[in-house]
Symmetry: C2
Subunit: 376 residues, 2 copies
């Protein structure tokens, strides 16, 4: 362990493989117990090697967020793939190529896309109508009866498109901070998704599946109601946002960025890290005390890393710098444990964006796990 840390020169994404595998096993079991299809979102890890851990947990269907990512995982043996992003017509050739190779699932939320697909698809695909259950990103509004019916009608009129069901992503659970808030958000979202299905049934579109499942809801709930499929992604690593939401505890978090310490400023109780927006992106949260935080601080130690240090956080980041600020008592201890040239660990606010930037994982065995080399 110590030897591995000695090899680190620049900001490095550490991966606790045992925790990630535990997170996968736990979610896979929960899906099995609820007789749900578990279609995990692979945008978080973007790695064929980590994908194999899911396969060992019985996963055979996956979610990705881009055509390029679908191609990457198709190249690595995955043959049942949902691209959980509205169809980008400009990639029609690549979509057709994929549709010939794998069981491809696409999301549509407007007639223009469905009509284009009708005339351009060269192989069968499964189609999900994306429903906006109130999150206001993509999707047909759950109660927009005429749009739902019109889109569904156009889908079933094309023999290359099989209407699979209705699907939503509930980003609203990310604003939750208690179990009750997550449960309420989930209940509201799935109720609306069910309403959309019901409207479609009344128009004669039967046997439609429901797909949902953000990481907060999938992590804390034990029962999922009338849902057929869940698609969480972030849970494989979790991050500081999920800790703050209450979706996990700090010792479920499987990734930390090891950041070289380049300067220590006792007069303002700050430590300057090599670790900035090109490593973490610029996601932030508000602490309970109102301060903005770009990451939580841990010590790297034998067997992994410590619990987060409550009185210290990354208060700002620029392109390469991270500035750690600490409360008085915390700093007094911290400064005795660190030195310029040493390392501090940062739990990222958003592990998906951090992994997407760092492109590589270092495990405690010293293994370097590559991520897909996908153009942005």
């Amino acid at each position: 362990m110590a030897e591995i840390y000695n090899t680190i020169e620049t900001p490095t994404l550490l991966l606790d493989a045992a925790r990630a595998q535990r997170n996968i096993a736990r979610m896979a079991k929960k899906a099995r117990d609820n007789r749900l299809r578990f279609r995990p979102h692979f945008k978080t890890h973007q790695s064929a090697a980590i994908g194999e851990w899911f396969r060992q947990a019985g996963v055979s269907a996956i979610t990705v967020s881009s055509v390029a990512m679908a191609r990457y995982f198709a190249d690595h043996g995955w043959d049942d793939i949902t691209i959980a992003f509205p169809v980008n017509l400009r990639e029609m050739d690549k979509i057709n190529d994929l549709a010939h190779r794998v069981r491809l699932h696409l999301l549509v939320d407007n007639l223009a896309v469905v009509e284009f697909l009708s005339s351009h698809l060269t192989a069968p695909v499964a189609i999900w109508i994306e429903v906006d259950a109130g999150y206001r990103r993509s999707g047909v509004l759950w109660n927009d009866d005429s749009s739902l019916a019109e889109i569904a009608g156009r889908i079933v009129a094309c023999d290359r498109m099989e209407l699979q069901g209705v699907l939503t992503h509930d980003g609203s659970t990310y604003a939750a901070r208690t179990y009750a808030q997550i449960a309420d958000a989930y209940t509201m979202t799935t109720s609306r998704l069910n309403q959309a299905r019901h409207r479609l049934m009344e128009h004669g579109f039967l046997q439609l599946e429901l797909s949902t499942g953000d990481t907060p809801a999938c992590s804390v709930l034990e029962q999922f109601g009338k849902v057929d499929e869940i698609r969480p992604g972030n849970f494989v690593f979790y991050d500081w946002t999920q800790v703050e939401i209450g979706a996990c505890t700090w010792d479920d978090v499987a990734t930390v960025v090891a950041c070289p310490i380049v300067s220590i400023h006792p007069e303002r109780r700050e430590v300057i890290l090599y670790g900035g927006a090109v490593h973490f992106s610029k996601e932030s949260l508000r602490r309970d005390d109102g301060a903005q935080t770009f990451g939580a601080i841990v010590h790297l130690q034998n067997g992994g890393w410590s619990a987060p240090t409550p009185g210290a956080w990354v208060r700002s980041i620029s392109q390469e710098h991270g500035v750690v600020h600490a409360e008085e008592a915390t700093f007094a201890t911290l400064v005795q444990q660190i030195e310029v040239g040493g390392l501090l660990g940062v739990i990222p606010i958003h592990s998906c964006l951090t992994a997407n930037l760092l492109k590589r994982y270092l495990t405690f065995d010293g293994e370097s796990i590559a991520m897909a080399s996908i153009p942005a």
Copy 2:
């Protein structure tokens, strides 16, 4: 032009080469007129090809933000390089390798680093004492007399280190919104940098240079006082932050991201773009009306792109989605100009972070300019 836009499948960084070259020429002339060394920061573009445009404008000394970036540009013929980030001791071998190859300038702000360098440097380097003139990131406080003297003393005691001067980055101009605010910030910063030099002179350290120069100050000021070197970087492309600061006008901005339109939601006057945090990072600004914006909207058209559309902006981004919101009158026009499958242009909030994510530029000639492939 239109043909080039037709080739775009996914979010693509467009580069107006003529504007970038004009930005370079203008800044190079300003430095010459003021008899300043122009040491532009190459972290913005990270591209050897764009570096050549600077060379044609007479630039021979550059700034970078990492050892890896220094190696990349050294490999492309640059031999006078400042790494404008506190020395990371964990990269000592690579620093020594560079010091043997080029005239290498390093920043120090603490004794631990200077002592480590003293015992580990194997080739001569130029050393700048980084001064914190109030920005509170890295640097020795400008009025910390004893630290300044102690660090300088230790530098000159080592024959591999040549004390070059004092250097600062004034990030405070990024909070400015008027010429007067930028000028005041610059005056305060350079005054403090001069005070630091004066203190060092009183301790017997003579002939020290002053290095400063953020993009806002370098863009709007015509005179620079007692400064020897400026190191702006962002000005080569500018971005929406610089427009908001008043450091440039919209038609100085040389990069725009072409984003595929994947959905249009007239009921909430929103357009869903393929273009999210993995393309833009997550930098945002507040508009005058208090709304948060992740980018300004332009139309792609013959010869480039339009003026920004005042009543439309990217109101939120997630990993891949960008949500454009428009005021009522703006949307009525906008919706007639766009279609699903078409493109909208987004002026990034922070071009450095956007370029760092997109890794490649598409010029109006259809040329694809690669960026350094540097591990984060």
